[in-house]
């Protein structure tokens, strides 16, 4: 059984209209070559870190990112470009979802374990993350650019919180603003609500 406290979050599904301006502000410059999917990811991750009051992650923390369809838009663009010529290099890099992990690590001036998991659900993503996470905890994100976009992130720290106040939770409840703790009890996801 593993329990984590939610010490920061960004729930943005869809993100606010001014998310690009907010991202530019957080980065100090307009991002110019990373593509919408990664920009949306950076926005959510940096908002979540700010909410947790952390500038960077501890060395033994881990970043886990999931997505239903990931970089499909960048992939379509590159497949179009490929009909007559080589694709543009940056467009090709944008098809690799793990590029976002590198950008996020660079932005936080951090080096450590980060992993992208494709197509599963947030609960399964948390299960993989929790099996590997150390004392530094997890920065967990779920990111898609379909239908207005979704960039949901949680900063999770290991917690000794006990008690019977945990209730069974569906995977999509992970990103409810009402949750203070999450727990994996065997294969079951549980949550503790904010008092």
């Amino acid at each position: 059984m593993k329990t984590f406290a939610v010490t920061g979050r960004c729930i943005a599904a869809p993100p606010p209209d001014d998310w690009r301006e907010s991202l530019t502000q957080m980065l100090g410059a307009k991002p110019r070559r990373i593509g919408t999917w990664a920009e949306l990811g950076l926005y959510g991750a940096l908002r979540c870190m700010a909410d947790a009051g952390e500038k960077t992650l501890p060395p033994d923390a881990q970043i886990w990112l999931g997505s239903r369809r990931g970089t499909y838009a960048a992939t379509d663009t590159v497949l179009d470009q490929l009909r007559e010529d080589l694709p543009m290099p940056l467009a090709f890099l944008q098809t690799q979802p793990s590029q976002l992990l590198a950008m996020l690590a660079a932005k936080m001036d951090w080096k450590g374990h980060a992993c992208f998991v494709a197509g599963t659900d947030p609960g399964a993503l948390l299960r993989l993350a929790a099996a590997q996470a150390g004392n530094g905890g997890i920065l967990l994100g779920w990111l898609d650019e379909m239908a207005g976009g979704e960039t949901n992130w949680l900063r999770l720290r290991p917690s000794a919180e006990a008690g019977a106040s945990f209730v069974a939770a569906a995977p999509d409840m992970l990103f409810s603003p009402q949750i203070s703790h999450v727990r994996l009890d065997k294969l079951e996801l549980k949550a503790r609500l904010l008092a």
Binding site: T75, D76, L79, Q99, A102, H113, A118, R127, L128, K186
Partner: protein, 353 residues
């Protein structure tokens, strides 16, 4: 973390469509790459280690290869456990043929159905380190007791997006792959489907002790020496071993002018005495997301049957490290490393028992 046992393995690559054939062909000095033609001024003809197959329908070809490789690894004995699919290109080849749409979940369901898989399915995509990150995740899941069996399946099959992208980044050699070579001039890519079956139940042969992945975003398409050092330190720590305990390292050494030099620098900094080194890139090409699994399958088989890749190109003396001309007398503890896009540096520790 508790060790996990390699209880089965399978491989299809340019050398052959099962481990035995691949090893026989490698023993007889391997195969030359085939070629692929790419459009545009910076396109042209590039060598490519394709899997020999008459089937041109991407889905059908992938199904045949995945089923064959999984069967060789004894996948049916694990099918209620966790399936980890490791890939950087998913089924883009099928998307290019108009036979799929870019959708990760549909891709995962397709592969799971080919294998009649009943357990949980995860798709790990961290570019070239995908298979090693899948192994690391599988070990953790087994350690947590959530499953007792897992299959790591690396899948990297023909598609123009990957080849075109690497060509656009000017990373490809037009000749051959020359790991740590004096005249190395880029990567040669290849196809592979590779499977490693892992079990919490002890089995004779090879054990995975631990592993580590370090993402360093300072170089979008290349490696960093300090991250190489950190990766080796963390992998050894996760395995409870000292650097001196390592007998052999399977390095990345894909023949890239810049990256090979960075990797060599990292090796010299991480190890006071650099262990024997081996690269398999000149035998099967760089098989990207599948490379970690494919090269571990091939390496463990090579060590068991005393087969060793031959390097015909002159080594770059300036690197200060060199590949071993023959297998070390004993290679009990082995590091298998892949460095890749997205600043990802991963290594796992294997022990032969």
């Amino acid at each position: 973390m508790k060790p996990v046992y390699l209880s089965g393995r399978g491989l299809a690559c340019a050398l052959g469509q099962d481990v035995g054939t691949a090893l026989d062909v490698l023993r007889r000095d391997g195969v030359p790459p085939s070629h692929i033609s790419l459009p545009g001024m910076l396109g042209g003809n590039f060598p490519y280690y394709a899997i020999h197959s008459q089937q041109s329908d991407w889905n059908e070809r992938a199904r045949e290869l995945v089923q064959r490789v999984a069967a060789e690894a004894g996948a049916q004995q694990a099918s209620s456990g966790a399936l980890f699919i490791a890939t950087s290109s998913f089924d883009i080849g099928a998307v290019e043929q108009g036979a799929a749409k870019a959708d990760y979940r549909a891709f995962a369901e397709k592969i799971a159905s080919w294998l009649d898989w009943s357990g949980p399915v995860y798709v790990i995509s961290t570019a070239c380190t995908s298979s090693l990150n899948a192994l690391i995740a599988a070990q953790a899941l087994l350690d947590a007791g959530e499953v007792t069996e897992a299959l790591v399946l690396g899948v990297e099959l023909d598609n123009r997006l990957t080849l075109g992208g690497f060509a656009a980044l000017q990373l490809l050699s037009t000749g051959n792959s020359k790991p740590f070579g004096a005249t190395r001039d880029g990567l040669v890519l290849g196809e592979a489907v590779a499977a490693l079956r892992l079990s919490a139940r002890p089995a004779a042969g090879w054990t995975m002790l631990g592993g580590a992945n370090v993402v360093d975003g300072s170089q979008p398409t290349g490696a960093s020496a300090s991250a190489v050092v950190s990766m080796y330190q963390r992998a050894l720590e996760a395995s409870g071993l000292a650097a001196e305990a390592i007998d052999l390292i399977k390095v990345q050494a894909a023949g890239s002018p810049g990256n090979d030099a960075v990797e060599a620098q990292g090796l010299r900094e991480a190890f006071q005495v650099v262990p024997a080194l081996v690269s398999l890139k000149a035998a099967i090409g760089h098989t990207m997301g599948a490379s970690g699994a494919a090269e571990i399958v091939l390496l463990t088989a090579c060590l068991e049957q005393d087969v060793w890749p031959k390097y015909t190109d002159e080594t770059d003396a300036a690197l200060g490290v060199a590949l071993a001309a023959a297998a070390p007398g004993k290679a009990r503890r082995v590091l298998a490393t892949i460095l890749g896009f997205g600043g990802s540096h991963a290594s796992v520790v294997l022990e032969r028992t």
